[in-house]
């Protein structure tokens, strides 16, 4: 049998350390992972409302084997639990999404959101401090003016590097339903936030106003048939965005057409395969994530069992469909009982749009090479991740005789799921969130 790893474009090795919290609580579960535009920084959000930013080490000639590993750069509490007194509802502090802004100066900016509020954070470094004030002493206490006999110019002296995160904008009170997506526009002046029924357009400078650009709320809520599940701006065209629905459809909208983009410009839907129809057909067709390719020509969607690649120029059907874990199709009833059928998996492109990646259960994640049509299943686990060892491809046995290194479907651990992954924008470095653990895998160093 051929070894898939030989045909993979990348062979990943685990890092020297696996980043995780020492004790696992509900709050430590990672809920979002995102590289910034250069890949220098990696941000994670968790259920406790915290954001942890990792920075890649500068490559050193002395330690070639530690090629650009990621270390903790900054940690801050982004969101706190809140209470909606009008509706008597608690608002979770869980970070649903993080999106980076392109770097325009020395500071870094990112958007983080929970169910109701989006915040713009500035992360900046301070490695110098002014010393030699005339009116204050070194501790900051005011000096007696009578004791001042000379005049001096304060100077900046080096200090220990301090990374501080400050909330620069808070965009609140614009969403009745739960925010599922945020996306920064390519104009770098606006961004959108999407909840179950509406999408709002914001300007970064204005926090007390937003434009509603999509509203699918029916006049009578009893007629509700679908909700918005994800939304994203086109990477290059600032007037174009897409949003996916719980019915498995994608709508592409052009903001130049009208102020309210209820009427789509393009409508992507694949006809349902009658042979696959079941009790749960409708809910497994719900799209959990939608991502534009870096080129802007394709969109990728993830539903419960598949990943699909669509060409923007063809609305009738996807150009590629990849089965992530089709062996679960016969287990949908059980997955409904344990709520796993409602899991929302994300999907990512690599930098060149040639490989796509998504997560699965048992801490497995899958990669699909669009050119060679090869796919591989890898596992993010401490036991299988010795430093500098190559990740071994895994295989799920769907029936018949199980081989020694295969795992049967019934043995899969459905509590270990990989919902969030990220791929470095230009290099073969991937970040995989497995519950409260963050695994960062890098391409094998020759």
């Amino acid at each position: 049998m051929k070894c898939f790893s030989r045909y993979l474009p990348y062979i990943f090795r685990p890092p020297n350390t696996i980043l995780s919290s020492s004790c696992h609580t509900e709050a430590d579960i990672i809920s979002t992972v995102e590289f910034n535009h250069t890949g220098e920084l990696l941000a994670t959000g968790d259920k406790g409302g915290r954001v942890v930013i990792f920075q890649r080490e500068q490559e050193s000639k002395n330690q070639v084997h530690r090629r650009g590993e990621y270390n903790v750069y900054s940690t801050f509490q982004s969101h706190e639990p809140e209470f909606d007194y009008l509706k008597s509802l608690e608002i979770e502090e869980k970070i649903n999404k993080i999106r980076w802004l392109p770097q325009q100066n020395a500071a870094y900016f990112l958007l983080s959101t929970n169910d109701k509020t989006v915040k713009l954070w500035k992360v900046s470094e301070r490695d110098k401090r002014p010393e030699g004030y005339n009116l204050k002493d070194e501790e900051g206490r005011l000096r007696d003016p009578a004791t001042i006999t000379t005049l001096r110019v304060p100077v900046l002296r080096p200090m220990d590097l301090m990374v501080e995160a400050t909330p620069r904008r808070v965009f609140a009170n614009a969403h009745t339903y739960h925010i599922n997506s945020i996306s920064v526009n390519s104009d770098y002046e606006t961004y959108m936030s999407a909840d179950d029924l509406r999408i709002n357009l914001w300007n970064f400078e204005i926090t007390n106003q937003s434009f509603n650009i999509v509203d699918i709320k029916p006049a009578n809520m009893e007629e509700l048939t679908e909700v918005i599940t994800a939304a994203e701006f086109h990477p290059h065209h600032c007037n174009t965005f897409v949003y996916s629905s719980s019915k498995g459809t994608i709508r592409l909208c052009d903001m130049r057409a009208s102020a309210l983009c209820d009427r789509h410009t393009k409508f992507f839907e694949e006809p349902e395969d009658p042979s696959n129809r079941s009790f749960f057909s409708e809910i497994i067709s719900s799209i959990s994530d939608v991502k534009f390719s870096h080129s802007g020509r394709y969109i990728m969607t993830r539903d419960y069992l598949t990943v699909k690649v669509w060409d923007l120029n063809m609305e009738s059907r996807p150009i590629e469909t990849y089965q992530v874990h089709d062996y679960l199709r016969s287990k949908l009833c059980s997955l409904y009982e344990n709520d796993c059928i409602f899991d929302k998996f994300e999907c990512v492109w690599n930098g060149s749009d040639s490989v796509i990646m998504t997560g699965s259960y048992n801490n497995f994640f899958r990669m699909f090479d669009r050119n060679t049509k090869r796919d591989v299943t890898l596992e993010a686990s401490r036991e299988n991740s010795k430093p500098r060892a190559i990740l071994k491809p895994r295989k799920v046995c769907v029936g018949g005789k199980r081989r020694k290194d295969e795992i049967s479907v019934d043995s899969l651990d459905f509590s270990k799921k990989i919902l969030h992954t990220a791929w470095h924008p230009s290099e073969n470095i991937i970040a995989v969130a497995a519950t409260n653990n963050l695994y960062i895998f890098q391409d094998k160093v020759n």
């Binding site: 509706k87 739960h178 129809r277 199709r329 016969s330 344990n338 019934d410 459905f414 509590s415």
Partner: protein, 226 residues
């Protein structure tokens, strides 16, 4: 019959999930609620169509057009008929649960949704008690007796496709317990089957004697209440 039982089980489970979702942090999730309602609707359609088929061929063991499982293919023609019948009955009875009396449950099989022929002034609890659904009605006496045996809510995610944890007490403790008992009993047997063969429907540990129509009525009422 098996198809009906499975559909009933799915509906029960869906109602339980919808009830449980109200207590989670962050409030009711619109998307989740929509998905649950879609499942309930599908299960209801299959249940009603299976029931129609069973009534149309009395004496013949009801053979489901397809297995009630992940690879289920709901019979579309029967579904259309049932939907037409349902739409008629629903127009007459937007609240199908209000005043259902036991004898009315044996009306025309095409009227799958219960429809009161006349408005009864009887209390709902007594009518349901007559029909055998006393366990589903909140009862002060039962509550006091069983208060000590209540289980706490667990939020653990099952690892190996296990039944969901016990239901927390709420406005309808007996309903929750009955649903849980029924649900657990159905799921306790888990036969190992090859993936290529549709797994058989979960067996019942203890058959419960109750009118299927009344059970459906209660489930629909639970949905309306939520």
């Amino acid at each position: 019959m098996e198809v009906q039982k499975e559909a009933q089980r799915i509906m029960t489970l869906s109602v339980w999930k919808m009830y449980h979702s109200r207590m989670q942090r962050g409030g009711l999730r619109l998307h989740r609620s929509l998905q649950l309602s879609l499942i309930m609707r599908s299960a209801r359609e299959v249940y009603l169509s299976a029931k129609v088929e069973a009534h149309e061929e009395p004496g013949v063991p009801s053979q489901p057009a397809c297995s009630l499982d992940p690879r289920l293919h709901p019979p579309r023609e029967a579904q259309t008929r049932v939907e037409a019948a349902l739409s008629d009955s629903e127009q007459l009875c937007p609240e199908p649960m209000d005043t259902q009396e036991a004898p009315r449950a044996e009306e025309s099989p095409a009227r799958c949704a219960p429809r009161p022929a006349k408005i009864s002034r009887k209390r709902r609890s007594s009518s349901l008690a007559n029909s055998g659904d006393a366990g589903l009605v909140p009862s002060k006496k039962a509550r006091l007796e069983e208060e000590g045996a209540e289980e706490g809510e667990s939020s653990e995610i099952s690892n190996r496709l296990q039944p969901p944890p016990a239901q927390a007490e709420g406005a309808f403790p007996n309903l929750a317990r009955v649903l849980q008992r029924r649900f657990s009993g159905l799921l306790n047997c888990s036969p190992a089957v090859p993936p290529t063969v549709p797994p058989p429907p979960a067996c019942e540990a203890k058959p419960v004697c109750r009118r299927a129509d009344s059970m459906l009525n209660v489930l629909v009422r639970a949905v309306v209440a939520f």
